[in-house]
Amino acid sequence: MSHLATAQPAMPHPDLDPLSAPPFPKAALPILRNPQLRHNVAHAIDVIQAKRAKLVTEKADWQELRSAASAIRAQALENLGAYLEEFETRCTAAGGTVHWAADAAEARQTILDLLRQENASEVIKIKTMTSAEIQLNPFLEAAGVSVFETDLAEIILQLGDDEPSHIVVPALHVNRSQVREIFARRMGLKDLSDDPHALTAAARTYLRQKFLNIPTAIGGANFLVAETGSVAVVESEGNGRMCLTLPRTMITLAGIEKVLPRFQDLEVMLQVLARSATGERMNPYTSLWTGVTPGDGPQRFHVVLLDNGRSSILSRTKERQTLKCIRCAACMNACPVYRQTGGHAYGSVYPGPIGAILTPQLMQMHHAQSLPFASSLCGACYEVCPVKINIPEVLLELRAQVVNQERHQFARLLDPMYLGMKIANLLFQKAWRFHLAQRLGRIGARLFTQRDGWIHSLPSIGAKWTQTRDLRALSSQTFHEWWAARKGEAK
């Protein structure tokens, strides 16, 4: 793709804070005009999709696993209070300390306080989307703590001053020559090649001393086990194992929805997660630990349980299923909209279909209202979801809420979409109105129909359609008219 690698339009720094990010259609525009980025995203998605499809097909009991995974997650949410308390009790008994944070600010402060107790001026991190959600890194940096991401993709983003565009492969929008440029510049490696082996080796060398010397780590949780008070982290590179084995102190940040009832539930979750996420039968490393083990791993262990809007999602019957999510990203890989725009257009660390329902809800429907509309409702996300979240159903519910919010705004009277719907509402009420509109429409359309039988350009708001596609000329006879005429002939 060398012809694409040159003369790229400068991309603005992506804004993933839903409080300030532009609405989806506006944020998507510069991306749609960036062929390199679209090529990078499409390539990565195609590879993951093909691998996932192969491994899901080989699993004869895939649908049964999905049903079980969905039921286990639903059970955990329905009884979340009991399971959270059970987790807290078991984890504390095993030597861990459990903290509760109602919102992002409290979670950030709790973590900073813990780092201050440790006199930590540096911290190593396992990739955690929850920490991106609470914008932990900039907060810690501002407080004088140097943060070192250790996941390869996160290093690429951190050193490249970029933002994640995917929840499993956060740098999938960056290609090898771009990674080479970032590493060469930030690690001072002038002769670095763009071979992924060389780039990976550079990251290994860059991090090795940090793993061995920095005594404090922050990570997330893929699962919390109520029965045992254990935490599970699913990863590939071994950076997670480094962070949760070598330091003196480990701090885990986890959303309250991450709980599973029992250890044995992992027999389902681990079978569906890697297959859905990376198209592997199992990811290279999964670690589970319980509090503190004398002589093995960190001797101080903290869990920060984060609400930050989750309990309010829990209270809504139709939307509650959003919290079943295990962050596998299969929905974004399957989404025709995400494939075109990548993740940055969603203005949130959670992109794609799950982000389109999760982000506005985490914002209590006060921000990111354009996201529920960033979907064609094709249902591909629901089909691949390993915990059967009916994303289209939640999208429609959220769209209804957004429309209800706008019902009271005067500005809607100037919105062509709103006015069009009002007119359609009037026309569809009576058959004669509809038939009249059809006739008038046919006459009107004739003015724009070219000799080849196509409409190539329409004026005014019609141009929004014809800018990118042609419209076939309307038939001279509707089905109803044809049917009536045919019946007449038969008589």
């Binding site: 109602a102 990251a203 061995l212 590179e237 194992r241 290279p284 609400d307």
Partner: protein
């Protein structure tokens, strides 16, 4: 939090206590008061649908063949041997590795510490000492054929977690009787939930750059397995 350094089992501060109550109250009111108290909702849990495959159907030979095939797909090197041949097989693997310094868990069968190599038994080895080892040899708890997964519970023969992490070359001794076909069969073998688990499926890897799978980022780059054909 108190000003002193927190110790294991220390209690979180009063702010966290207020948030704890707030969050749990919100959660309980969101779920209409269900999940009250500590009692597990056992009946509802027992009724969850579990119609997926729990038990494998392969013959013992086919199960082992699958385990080997799946391990090799991850680029792990697998050799088979009889119990009588095990020590000789270990020696052959170590020699072929071209490495000399090996770490070993403190509970590893002492017969396996074959002579001619520099063994560092893990009697509280420092991280730096483990980092200097070129390789490591351990036993394991279980092998899962369906996904080619090796499971460590970090018993004295399996070693502390750091031991199988820092050295670049890892040799795992897996007995045929430890191999199950499905992941649920592994869970059935856990009479108690384990305190520490590492599930290992192939060498450390990443696909973060253009989805190209690269072996060995931070964990061991080379995974070798000796499958011991004991009674199965």
């Amino acid at each position: 939090m108190s000003a002193t350094v927190s110790t294991p089992g220390s209690t979180p501060g009063p702010a966290s206590g207020q948030s704890r109550k707030r969050i749990l109250d919100r959660v309980r009111s969101a779920t209409h008061g269900s999940g009250h108290g500590f009692a597990e909702p056992a009946d509802a849990y027992a009724a969850l649908p579990r119609t997926y495959v729990r038990r494998g159907t392969l013959t013992a030979e086919a199960r082992l063949a699958l385990m080997i095939e799946r391990l090799r797909e991850y680029d792990a090197e697998v050799i088979e041997c009889t119990p009588a041949n095990l020590v000789a097989s270990i020696a052959a693997q170590l020699t072929a590795s071209g490495k000399h310094t090996f770490a070993a868990p403190e509970g590893l069968n002492s017969d396996w510490l074959v002579p001619g190599f520099d063994w560092k038994a893990d009697h509280r080895l420092t991280t730096a000492e483990i980092e200097q080892a070129e390789g490591v040899v351990t036993a394991c708890f279980c092998g899962v054929a369906d996904s080619g997964t090796i499971v460590l519970h970090h018993s004295p023969a399996e070693g502390r977690r750091v031991l199988t992490l820092l050295p670049d070359w890892y040799l795992c001794i897996l007995r045929a009787s430890q191999v199950v076909e499905t992941l649920p069969e592994y869970f059935d073998r856990c009479t108690q939930p384990p305190v520490l688990v590492t599930w290992i499926s192939g060498p450390s890897a990443t696909a973060d750059i253009e989805m190209t799978r690269i072996k060995g980022v931070h964990g061991p780059r080379f995974l070798h397995v000796i499958l011991v054909r004991d009674e199965i």
